[in-house]
């Protein structure tokens, strides 16, 4: 902070004092200009949708057919052409990712200020892209993550890939969502606990959040140092919202039925005020996935005041309250039985109404106060405070000593009774027939949650001769309630035409409460706050099974819970994080370069609010806790002799981090540019990756360290005469990642946790984006290609724990088949070959890939744009090399060797293998038109048809179940079937808007 203040006050002394804007762009002059003529033209190239400056736009000035001058806008979008002879000029403006534009200028002996020259992004449909393009995949109990990343940018590649590839949940360069830095008004918004980009905080506020500035890959931004996966800053200030009224109506068949939106922005008024609001509602279900629905609303209000020329203060508040029903994954067996790959097991009928058991229920308001100052023409400074609070809930069924209520639970499926391979020991074909019939014809609603049954069991569970009923099934709500306070300050100092310095500090304070509450007792009177699995194991000691031992000790019985009560677990996650960064930009003629560095400190700890009987810890006076039931000591210790405790503060994990990056760029005559970036990053692990079982205890995972990443890219772009091309090659090595998978294990009636450390990955590949004008005016051919290899390069270590047991199943054990598995040589008859000593011969090592994104993605399409404001687009997409998420269990010796402890080639190749998805071909089309009425009203529509070929076999994700099946032979294990998510078949989106 002190450094920042020093910078703010000290820099002006060195700063230039003239107030005239300086132009730092490059000029290529073709004609001798008139030295003494005062005539000229200046202006700022901006993005039409958000008045965001467009740097490096190429401006070509013609007189007649002669090129007089060629120049480029500078980093602020500004351009200045002086000493022009009087006359009429035609100026073409083109920039990567935008439609070219033409402006006529008359020079009459003075500097003509065009103010803004606005460009339209070349992909108009992208305007409706937001987080809500992704259905809520229900993976919370699976142990896997679902955090889609959205590729934004004003670049020929990102424009097309960002939109066309989102349908298969493409992750650019294979990177995780948390590597993508998303800023809002200059504050880094990535979740403090998981690192994910929290799109849902503002989804549905497309208009207010439309203005964005983005960088790609390693490039830094003016807002922060960034990582290796780009920086997106959403301006979100009222003055950045497009002025006027706008109403829109959107309907689509793949996610929600209806979106209504209204926006108003004043623009900057003469008195220096600007204000804006944006509200929307997203409602209804869709044609493909039953039970998924939206009841989501969104509001944004902002006000801004400019004081003089130097100061600007803005205040914004926004949130997206509402509910969303989630979609669950099922096995292929279930999809085939039901006859649909978009079957959703999360819902059932209750009194004839569809009810989804898994509902996301949120209201997380965000408040932003931003101050910017331009004390000098070449100095900008800003300070921002952002506070996020509210609730984030996710409902699920919870049950006690009762049958699993999920309709697609494996014991209810035909395959539980019969599998062709005898070694599974599932031999009953008749029962297979019964179960198949029940599923196929949905007899007694076999396909869905049987709410009637859950209620009836609760109705009838009277407690020992009373008329009170204890619920066996309830709907719980898992809450993640954040309090997140952020402060950021940054400066940008244009020291000279050669050097610009940006830098800043930021600080994050986060305290998040994780807990469960009773959301619905489903017809019963109460639920009991005990750990049911522990009860099975420790039935003789009532103290050990308590979720809240302190309550039990005080009251002599477990707490009886009613709707709204917290239960099971309750703890704070505390995160503190501070960073300081600086970026020096050099610019000399056709050369640009930068060097940037960042240093940071992160610490976090857990603070348990409940004392769990299994992990009782110590009394406040440091003595051991004794069970009043058995008089046995409840306090337990880990293998290091440390007390395992659920209540109170954990050890603080803290990390010093530093990162550096640099880059250089050369512009060549004719619109060519070559640039390269390189960076080395140290990132602290997140809270969510750091505890072995955060719901139950304070234990940190072993070997916790920073993630080290090296990343470099080389790029070439060409932008001229409507041609727009980018080619990039990238290489990234990520080392020492940690991850915690936490999944519901029905055999334990509890969550099981796999904490992994030492995960290394390597990502390399090429990107190509191009747009080429075709002979017909307005018609262009465009395409993108992303082709990479993203692989695991280490065998991590794993610690497995179960929430309701002190036992450590795997203790920091290596996962030997994680990064690859051997494939053995066979003869023509399929018999494995051995060498002279009888050992099997390894043919090759099959690599394992970073999952959940196609590693080869391509799009090719036509774009036709008429002066009458019609546009047509047709494109074909191809995706390949997508892989299923792996679980570590299947890559352990235990799983591969089977019950006999002997790993045969068959077992290795079966158990350790990773599933590769089939390649996908998709065809999409869109059409749109807008009308201007009286030059005041603007009415338009866009219609998209996606997946025209109605391909219903496109896997967009999924996961392996983390369970094993014993073989009848006793020699090996089999896997449980994996679960998948599929893409919707043919679907449409129609957007109508009206603006004035």
């Amino acid at each position: 902070m002190a450094i920042l203040l020093a910078a703010v006050f000290a820099l002006p002394a060195f700063a230039q004092t003239d107030t005239k804007k300086t132009y730092k762009g490059r000029l290529e002059v073709y004609e001798n200009l008139v030295k003494d003529n005062k005539g000229g033209v200046e202006g700022t190239v901006v993005n039409r949708s958000g008045r965001v400056p467009v740097a490096d736009a190429m401006l070509t000035l013609y007189r007649g057919e002669t090129v007089v001058l060629k120049g480029y806008s500078d980093t602020d979008g500004y351009f200045l052409f002086e000493n022009l002879p009087n006359g009429i000029y035609r100026m073409t403006v083109s920039a990567a990712g935008f439609e070219p534009s033409v402006v006529n200028v008359t020079v009459e002996g003075f500097m003509k200020d065009l103010m803004f020259v606005s460009l339209v992004a070349s992909q108009t449909v992208t305007s409706e892209l937001d987080e809500s393009n992704f259905a809520e995949f229900d993976m919370i109990d699976s142990g896997y993550d679902d955090s889609p990343s959205i590729l934004y940018g004003n670049d020929v590649y990102t424009n097309i890939a960002g939109y066309d590839f989102s349908s298969v949940r493409f992750k650019n360069r294979g990177y995780n969502s948390e590597t993508q830095d998303v800023y809002l008004s200059g504050i880094r918004m990535n979740d403090a606990l998981t690192g994910y980009t929290p799109w849902s905080l503002w989804s549905g506020l497309n208009e207010a959040m439309r203005s964005k500035e983005t960088t790609i890959g390693v490039e830094p931004s003016d807002y922060g140092f960034g990582g290796y996966n780009g920086v997106t800053n959403i301006l979100a200030t009222p003055s950045s919202v497009r002025p006027g009224w706008r109403f829109s109506l959107l309907t689509n068949s793949a996610l929600y039925r209806l979106r209504l939106m209204a926006t108003y922005a004043s623009g900057q008024l003469d008195n220096g005020w600007s204000y804006a609001f944006n509200v929307s509602a997203r409602l209804g279900g869709n044609d493909w996935v039953q039970g998924v629905y939206y009841r989501s609303f969104a509001y944004y209000a902002g006000v801004e005041k400019k004081f003089g020329d130097e100061h600007r203060l803005s205040l914004m508040v926004f949130a997206t309250p509402g509910q969303r029903g989630a979609q669950n994954a099922s096995t292929q067996e279930v999809y085939d039985l039901v006859g649909s790959n978009t079957y959703n097991s999360n819902w059932g009928y209750q009194n004839g109404k569809m009810r989804n058991a898994r509902v996301r229920n949120t209201h997380e308001p965000v408040m932003v106060l931003k101050y910017t100052a331009n004390p000098l023409e070449n100095l900008e400074a800003s300070a921002t405070i952002l506070y996020r609070t509210g609730k984030n809930g996710y409902t699920a069924l919870d049950w006690y000593d009762a049958q699993d209520p999920r309709p697609d639970y494996y014991r209810y499926l035909p395959s539980y009774f019969y599998i062709e391979n005898d070694d599974y020991d599932r031999v009953d074909q008749t029962k297979f027939g019964w179960a198949t019939e029940a599923w196929q014809y949905n007899i007694n609603n076999t396909q869905h949650i049987n709410w009637d049954r859950l209620y009836n069991i609760n109705y009838n569970n009277f407690v020992n001769g009373t008329d009170r009923t204890r619920s066996k099934y309830i709907q719980e709500e898992r809450r993640t309630d954040q309090n997140d306070l952020n402060f950021n300050a940054s400066v940008k100092w244009r020291a000279s035409s050669l050097f610009t310095l940006t830098g800043g500090v930021d600080y994050k304070w986060n305290r998040t409460e994780y807990y469960k509450r009773v959301n619905d007792l489903l017809g019963g009177d109460y639920y009991l706050n005990i750990d049911q699995f522990a009860e099975r194991d420790f039935a003789s000691d009532a103290a050990k099974i308590q979720n809240d031992l302190d309550y039990y000790l005080a009251n002599g019985a477990a707490q009886e819970l009613v709707k709204g009560d917290k239960y099971s677990y309750d703890y704070y996650a505390n995160v503190r994080r501070a960073n300081i960064w600086a970026n020096g930009n050099f610019s000399a003629g056709a050369f640009k370069g930068y060097v940037a560095a960042e240093a940071g400190y992160t610490k976090f700890w857990r603070d348990g609010l409940l004392r769990k009987g299994l992990f009782a810890g110590l009394n406040d006076d440091g003595t051991e806790i004794v069970s009043p039931v058995t008089n046995e000591v409840l306090t337990s210790y880990d293998s290091n002799g440390d007390v395992i405790t659920s209540k109170g503060r954990s050890k603080v994990a803290d990390f010093f981090t530093w990162s550096v990056k640099g880059g250089a760029s050369w512009f060549f005559t004719g619109g060519h540019r070559v640039y390269a970036n390189v960076g080395y990053f140290n990132d602290a692990p997140t809270f969510s990756q750091a505890f072995v079982s955060p719901r139950t205890r304070n234990t940190l995972i072993p070997n916790l360290t920073t993630t080290k990443t090296f990343s470099a890219d080389v790029n070439y772009t060409y932008s001229n005469n409507g041609y727009d091309i980018r080619v990039t090659g990238f290489y990234t090595k990520i080392n020492d990642q940690t991850d915690v998978m936490s999944f519901y294990d029905d055999s334990q009636n509890s969550f099981t946790n796999f904490a992994m450390s030492g995960i290394d990955q390597r990502h390399m590949g090429v990107e190509l984006g191009f747009k080429v004008p075709l002979p017909l005016d307005g018609l262009s051919l465009q395409g993108v290609l992303s082709w990479g290899e993203y692989v695991y390069t280490s065998n991590p270590r794993m610690t497995q724990t179960v929430d309701n047991s002190a036992e450590v199943v795997f203790d920091n054990a290596i996962v030997p088949y994680w990064m690859s598995h051997p494939v053995y040589a066979k003869d023509i008859d399929g018999v494995y070959l051995t060498d002279d000593e009888g050992n099997y011969i390894v043919d090759k090592n099959q690599k394992h890939y970073v999952p959940s994104t196609p590693q080869l993605a391509a799009s090719l399409g036509f774009n036709y744009r008429l002066p009458t404001y019609w546009f047509f687009e047709l494109n074909a997409n191809y995706f390949d090399k997508a892989y299923l998420d792996m679980n570590p269990l299947y890559r352990t010796d235990l799983a591969v060797q089977g019950m006999d402890g002997n790993a045969s080639p068959v077992e290795i190749e079966y158990m350790a293998a990773q599933e590769k998805f089939d390649p996908v071909f998709l065809l999409n089309a869109s059409v749109g038109k807008s009308w201007y009425i009286d030059r005041k009203y603007n009415f338009g529509f866009s219609l998209e048809i996606k997946n025209i070929l109605n391909n219903r076999n496109v896997k967009t994700g999924g996961y392996e179940q983390t369970r094993l099946i014993d073989s009848a032979s006793g020699e090996r294990y089999y896997r449980f079937d994996p679960k998948y998510f599929y893409m919707s078949g043919i679907n449409y989106m129609l957007n109508l808007y009206f603006r004035f």
């Binding site: 209504l260 009762a402 539980y416």
Partner: protein
Amino acid sequence: MNRMIKNIILLAGGVVLALSAMSCDEFPPVKYDDPEPYKVYTDADFPGVTFTSVADLKAMYEGEPVEIRRDVYIKAQVNSSDQSGNLYRTMYVQDATGGIEVKMGTRNLYNEYKFGQWVYINCNGLSVGDYNGMVGLGYKSADPKYETAYIDSQYIIDTHIFRGEPGKLEPILIDEAGITAKDNYGRYVTVSGLTYGNQIFAILYKDPNAEHEGDNRWFLSYDPSYDGPVNTYGNFGIDTWAISETGFQKLLDDPDFDFNGAIPCEDIQSKSEFVAPYSYSVSQYFRKGSTDLQVRSSGYARFADTRIDQEILDGATVNLTGILTYYNSGSGANYQMILNDLNGVEIVGSDGAGE
């Protein structure tokens, strides 16, 4: 132009209304009404049906499993409960003529089939078969090791077993002869005047994850033919109703525990030969006159590690209430009792004076 704007607004308004109507239907209500209670079946739901007695159903067994291929209805009361975990995936029902096991296959049956509740079972498509001397009702077995299989499939259960009215059920008081009477197998009974036999039967496994056969097994049993000190081991120090996994771990961890001195012996030299804990069912012997009644409890029962009352161990007279079963081990008849829970154990007096 104004008319055009008006038309546009009207059109857009119309679309909004139409879509709203659709989506309102699709986004579910915040509140859901509680569903209706289950249908309670009565005799009126089975018009014209002559109910077969449980005894007659059991008599359909012909020395080999029989799949019933005609409508045979029984009406009986549930006499078991798996709430304590002593029964797993199965329940017993009885009528005035006798009791029978119904191999349901699903878990936590007590949630839907309450003790004393009447059930109607259409046996058409189900099978009767024998398990070591007891005839039970289940599904045709695909595994030759068993005569009947668990029914398992919810669809079969829903189409064959119908819940009736709740009811009360009193145990049948039986005497020593009643313990060995075949008609009583599967019935809910009270045997009075029993005393603790200080004898158990259990099979332990040195490596529970390996095959449960051969030398991996260690029998904790009284063997009259064995000419050694085995008789002196009594209950082998096992004074709980059964042994859970954690209970067994405690026995392994207790340096003083040596199965009443049974270790070392020919079969096992040291407790360290147990590579992992496991939960074990235990038959605790009780005596009525000259007849043994084994109270067989599962290691998964919630009361598995509950110590048998000291008074009982010291010889107090007890009345035991539970389901009477029979097990022919090949070497002889075993009369067993399954406790629904420990409420089935009643101490009536000390030193045999209570009867």
